[in-house]
Symmetry: D2
């Protein structure tokens, strides 16, 4: 039984591409972290040290910067699709490419001064091959907290269960979400940027409005709210740490603590993964 | 020549205190990271293993949580002062205490739902001893960028200088600033929270308005603008990495890059420290 | 077309379990970071807020600590298997469980004093369901560097290629590797700990001995070396950033730099993923 | 009362300088992170945008790389001293310079292959001005743990004290230490590298041998041990988080836990700062 090459990919990770649009005095900025990875028939590079089919990762980086000007960055999705197509075209041995883009948001201070906004990062993953393109838009590190309207009760008990029912707890998470199905056409859904803004707003509204019996239920409700409003979306997936806030025990000091002082814990944390999708039936 | 104990301190670092005010249905949140350190006559604990003068760091943590309820958190400054006074009072051997508080800002999504705001963190350092209290308010990780109105020219050259004059460059930093002189009285300066908001706004305005010949000059102008407007402040200090944005070299590809595509660099970075103060003369 | 629950899991991440074996005066330590995730029929928790099937993540944490004593930690693999079995048994609605364990290594300073060793972390992932158990052992953050015996030449060129052939370069990476096929039986392969030590040594030897035409080729050679020596292994997978070390340009200063001074770059970096497997044919 | 410039400095932080010595087939590596900061009469740059006295931070970086070849890196101390002298010489307006160097250690795998060793980082700070040079050598992130021989009892109690006496606890820290007084002359103390190795060994031995009544006492004992053996040293300073390991509460499950299973906590942590010095009397 021989030893052979299995799945493989290679690329350039985390090119920090900053694109300033300065066509008018009122500059615009798109601040990106770009990673590309090619896959395909690269046996010889691995087994024979023959690099003839390898477009260097240095060239992938050059292309990421060149495309920020040549194609532009109307949205991270548009840019990722264009960059992916170019890399496939330039690399005959490649059968597929994955382009990941993170975008950091800035608020405007003036015509050409900006301040970083929020902790969250917009994300895009484009997968391209001969079958076509799949675009997953999303966000990560969106930090949310509810100071009430959250309970966790009636769960399964075994010999190692010490947790007590909570009628009123703090619910907090650092949300990662991604969704697919948008086309980016402006007629239908307002284009990629409008779609992102709409999904983000729906997530915030649903989180704020939901009376939670568990983080699982809240995430499902958030996903359902998005799919109900955005007809083009076929699926939305969440990864959400449950950032525990333990009620501080002030009883030994004769101080009542009616849900007012909490210990924000680091580790361990609950970790919830939920996908909400459309029924094929 | 004997061996003796020199400077020393001990305390509890990074207690994550979250205070929810729920007196009405419209909750308020103050999200803090609290560190305390006591100093004084603690020779015996070090040299003889005698802990009788040591208020445990565990007790310091308990007090940080208890004081969030007992005293409350009208502002991080008020809270830090009260906590520091308590720890000094509880520890006869201590001659001084330093309390550091970081506050994370949240935007409101509803009566009791919140989303983390910005990347910046509000900071307070209180130093208390028998001579009185010194309060330094500040902020850190305030990320700023100018896409033009920044040059760097006419600098000193030696045999190892390869940098060329820049007529128009991106200027970006992650600002740390701290200032002293406020009293926190509401009559004078609007209280600690109002003062913080005012100083932050002055910093942003001055950054946006300044035509920069160097990050040093911009920081000085920002400090000057703050001191001119806030009569109570006696001094403001900045630590600011110069987060270099190199113009991407697209010439090999026949693409003009007139200040439109930049490489955001990680390391190394310039590091500028500037204090702006009032003349005693 | 309805909206339904898709793939989902939940668990407790990063329980920091430290197990001291103190049966003799010569203590032993196993320092673990444990994450568990259950999957199965959890529709009602998501869609109806009904938690009756949910073994709390808090209980999963309790079990992780209890099992460190009740079952012990002969190896992270043994422990992960036992913990996974317990969680499946305790949760009727679960059809599968994933247990991830990271282990931090310590060197001995004395009978009961230790110093942390290395930057690398030993990893185990166990996937358990009714079909059986799959164990992936591995490591991450093993930082390696060759100061010569590495070239990269003869690669594909397109219009955006500026990289030049390198006859002699620094090759550095922070290796993540994982493999499967070991049974942990002591007769065959020496047990989990012996197997880990053997694979790690083979990886280091192969890295040191290989004349590299690319990081891809070096990784393939390392995987091949492991599979050739360890008959039980069926597959090994690598993720390896190419931590670029650029030759510092000292020519403007009249200083020759014959591969002696390098700039260690942060981002971007090449990212190589390679799997080496056995041929089924 | 006017507004004026106060204390200030500027420099280049975190130049990642890797020096390979390849005079023989058996290569040597020194892997450094270098930061430099100049201070002096730089009023005009801050207040008038006049950069004529400013040696660019870019030049400071160039010099850090050039000096790695031109002067070499016999030890980080030697290199830092030479680099500091050069920067002062090149900058007439500067009255002082601080050079910080971190060194990452590598173990040898072969003539020219290496693997990163340990988590700890060797540190050097050189301060140079017309009065002369002060060299502080040190280390950071040296992670230590004792599984017994550590107690904490008899401490001060107040109304907020809930901690109970501990007869036998885990003591763990991530040590930062720095010392001064060595001259680097080989005759006296074996040179900088020998001195570093000796101090590090003394710290490990003292930690392992000490029966601890508090982390403060252990640090003092470690400092004392170093000063007793190394006559040239005048002072050693420690910063040490007390990385709490709480005994896991297994009693609810009917499992005895006689110091065998611990929860390694993240935050908060005790933070101890101790200086041990020679008596001037």
């Amino acid at each position: 039984m021989g030893i052979v090459l299995g799945a493989n990919s290679y690329g350039k990770a985390e090119s920090r591409v900053v694109r300033i649009v300065r066509d008018t005095d009122r500059h615009q900025i798109r601040d990106l972290n770009v990673s590309t990875a090619l896959r395909g028939d690269f046996v010889d590079v691995h087994t024979r040290g023959d690099n003839r089919q390898v477009l260097p990762t240095d060239t992938q980086r050059n292309t990421a910067f060149a495309w920020a000007k040549k194609h532009g960055v109307d949205s991270p999705e548009d840019y990722a699709l264009a960059l992916g197509r170019r890399l496939l075209e330039a690399t005959p041995a490649a059968t597929g490419v994955t382009v990941d883009v993170e975008e950091y948001a800035w608020d405007r201070l003036g015509d050409h001064a900006f301040v970083r906004r929020g902790t969250e990062v917009r994300t895009v993953r484009v997968d391209l091959d001969e079958a076509g393109a799949v675009v997953r838009s999303g966000l990560t590190d969106l930090v949310l907290l509810k100071s009430t309207d959250s309970e966790f009760r009636g769960f399964l008990h075994d010999d190692y269960t010490t947790l007590e029912d909570a009628d009123d707890r703090v619910l907090a998470t650092s949300l990662t979400a991604s969704w697919t199905g948008e086309t980016g056409e402006t007629g239908e859904t307002g284009g990629w940027d409008a779609s992102y803004d709409a999904v983000r707003a729906l997530l915030l509204d649903a989180f704020a409005a939901h009376h939670s019996h568990s983080l699982q239920e809240t995430l499902y409700a958030m996903g359902r709210a998005v799919l109900e409003e955005r007809a083009a979306l076929t699926e939305i997936a969440f990864t959400a740490p449950n950032r525990h806030h333990h009620l501080a025990d002030l009883a030994p000091f004769g101080i009542e603590n009616a849900g007012e002082v909490f210990v924000a814990a680091d580790r361990p944390y609950g970790l919830i993964q939920v996908t909400v999708t459309r029924d094929d039936g």
